[in-house]
């Protein structure tokens, strides 16, 4: 993929690949700026602050934001600003904002920050609490079940359902023993 060749990509939290701003080299670059200078294509990757401060780049911030919000289709000729791009399916944040769809499972990592905010707004709670695929192996399943049981225990205590809580506590103990045995 084209974007991988830039040396400034760094690993962030071991998951999201982030590119640093080419001017301040501190903040994450979220603005991709392209200009034709002397018939040569010049590309710059900047953070929003630097982009705003460097007025000679003549970046139209309003346009940038409207593009990010999906209000405006970016013009192709103007080679406007692209932000993060998924290296696996080529999805960009603009495309996501415009269509509301992600391109692949990896996009959930690449655009994690934007998605988390969105998920919180829609679902309130951002942790899965439901079905596990049949194929998921024993350990992940046990850990997942343990977490669900602990949450349920908490709810029972809040509701003062102590009899049910005791049953859940026993289940948790059994599961924890099981996990320890597997580790041992």
């Amino acid at each position: 993929m084209e974007w991988v060749k830039y040396s400034e990509w760094i690993e962030c939290e071991g998951r999201v690949r982030v590119m640093l701003c080419q001017l301040c080299k501190m903040r994450e670059a979220t603005v991709h700026f392209t200009r034709i200078v002397n018939q040569q294509k010049v590309e710059m990757y900047l953070c929003e602050q630097c982009a705003r401060e460097n007025s000679d780049l003549k970046i139209n911030i309003n346009k940038l934001f409207s593009a990010m919000l999906g209000l405006d289709e970016p013009e192709i000729e103007d080679a406007p600003f692209t932000t993060l791009r998924c290296g696996f399916c080529g999805m960009t944040i603009e495309e996501f904002n415009r269509t509301g769809l992600l391109g692949c499972a990896k996009c959930y990592d690449v655009f994690r920050d934007s998605i988390q905010i969105m998920l919180k707004r829609i679902h309130g709670n951002v942790k899965h609490h439901g079905k596990i695929p049949k194929k998921i192996s024993g350990r992940v399943r046990d850990e997942y079940n343990l977490r669900s049981l602990k949450e349920e225990l908490q709810r029972c205590i809040e509701r003062e359902e102590y009899e049910k809580a005791a049953q859940i506590r026993d289940k948790i103990k059994a599961l924890e023993n099981n996990l320890q045995k597997k580790e041992g």
Binding site: C104, L119, I122, H123, H128
Partner: protein
């Protein structure tokens, strides 16, 4: 036509049908809108294999409907029966649907997600529909690796569906709430409870014939059972309200109510031209009359059948030819007349 949608189920005076659908995506392919035609074909093949090789009774019970060469009338019929979504008609991807013989279970392939497993049931039967869906899901996941994350659950093309990726909905007939204007605060309250209310054919459709589709908006952070339970609880409350308002109308505005119902009955039995919209509105009145014992000699099953048959796709399929809008209105009026006049009447 003896398929499920004609039958009446539990609480059928208010609830027409229940539906549960699960979105699932293959781990190894990008989401549908980023797949190549080759990948789209593979997804279809692998899904068929997973379903048919997993269980012999399945393979005998399901058939695959390829959308590539399907004519527009057949497609419209599938949408009108709620077997596939409008989105599936509009996509230019290679797509299709695996459909059970009784037409209750369908698996849409290459819609917004790779798979949309759906089960329909008559009346209020969400748990039954969920049981069927989850069994099909288990069967498929024996041979397919689905995209799943322990923090955010099943991954879907649109982040609004992640987690359980379940959408449970009930189709409600709410004439009394609509007539009295109480529907507005009810709809507003539902929005606040994290529920979506739409028209008869899902997203971006109008509520025609006083039909409203209630579904969950939240898919993440709650278990499937909890989501179903909250819909059931809310539905029960709406049923109560609708029933008590119907009784109220009957005691307080008996003549107005009877007049409205019998006028619609008269139009349905006598009109020579009728649009889909008017027809559904009149059938809604007729249904209310039958439910309340104001009209007898007609069954809810008759009305269910009519509500499906009068729609453009089904109407054209029955006639066996393409009809323009004007012709449809004439043919529709005749169909309704014939069917109602066949029944024992006044």
């Amino acid at each position: 036509m003896d398929k499920w949608y004609i039958d009446k189920g539990p609480d059928s005076d208010v609830i027409i049908s229940s539906r549960v659908r699960l979105a699932r995506n293959f781990k190894k392919y990008p989401f549908p809108h980023k797949t190549t035609p080759e990948q789209q074909r593979q997804i279809i093949e692998e899904t068929k294999n997973a379903l048919f090789s997993g269980n012999r009774t399945m393979s005998e019970n399901f058939s695959y409907i390829d959308f590539t060469n399907l004519d527009s009338v057949e497609k419209a019929v599938l949408v009108e029966k709620h077997i596939v979504s409008k989105e599936l008609l509009e996509t230019n991807r290679i797509c299709g649907v695996l459909l059970s013989k009784d037409e209750r279970i369908s698996i849409m392939i290459n819609e917004e997600d790779h798979l949309r497993i759906q089960c329909l049931a008559t009346g209020l039967q969400l748990s039954e529909a969920w049981e069927t869906c989850t069994n099909i899901d288990d069967l498929l996941s024996e041979s397919i690796d689905f995209s799943w994350d322990e923090n955010i659950g099943y991954l879907t093309s649109c982040p609004t569906n992640i987690g359980t990726a379940i959408r449970a909905s009930v189709m409600m007939h709410l004439p009394a709430l609509t007539m009295t204007g109480y529907i507005k605060p009810v709809l507003e309250a539902l929005g606040k409870l994290g529920m979506a209310v739409r028209g008869m054919y899902g997203e971006n459709t109008e509520a025609s014939g006083n039909m409203f589709q209630l579904s969950n908006q939240i898919t993440l952070g709650k278990s499937e059972e909890d989501i179903l339970l909250s819909i059931k609880n809310i539905t029960s409350q709406i049923i109560e309200q609708e029933r008590s308002l119907r009784q109220h109308l009957l005691t307080q505005n008996k003549y107005q109510l009877e007049d409205k119902i019998f006028r619609s009955y008269g139009i349905l039995k006598n009109s020579r031209i009728i649009s889909t919209d008017e027809c559904l509105r009149r059938l809604s009145d007729l249904r209310l009359g039958v439910d309340m014992g104001i009209i007898d000699g007609i069954s809810i099953e008759n009305i269910n059948e009519l509500m499906l048959m009068v729609q453009p796709g089904n109407l054209q399929k029955r006639e066996g030819r393409i009809l323009d809008a004007n012709e449809r209105d004439i043919v529709r009026a005749k169909l309704v007349r014939d069917m109602l006049n066949k029944q024992k009447n006044y």
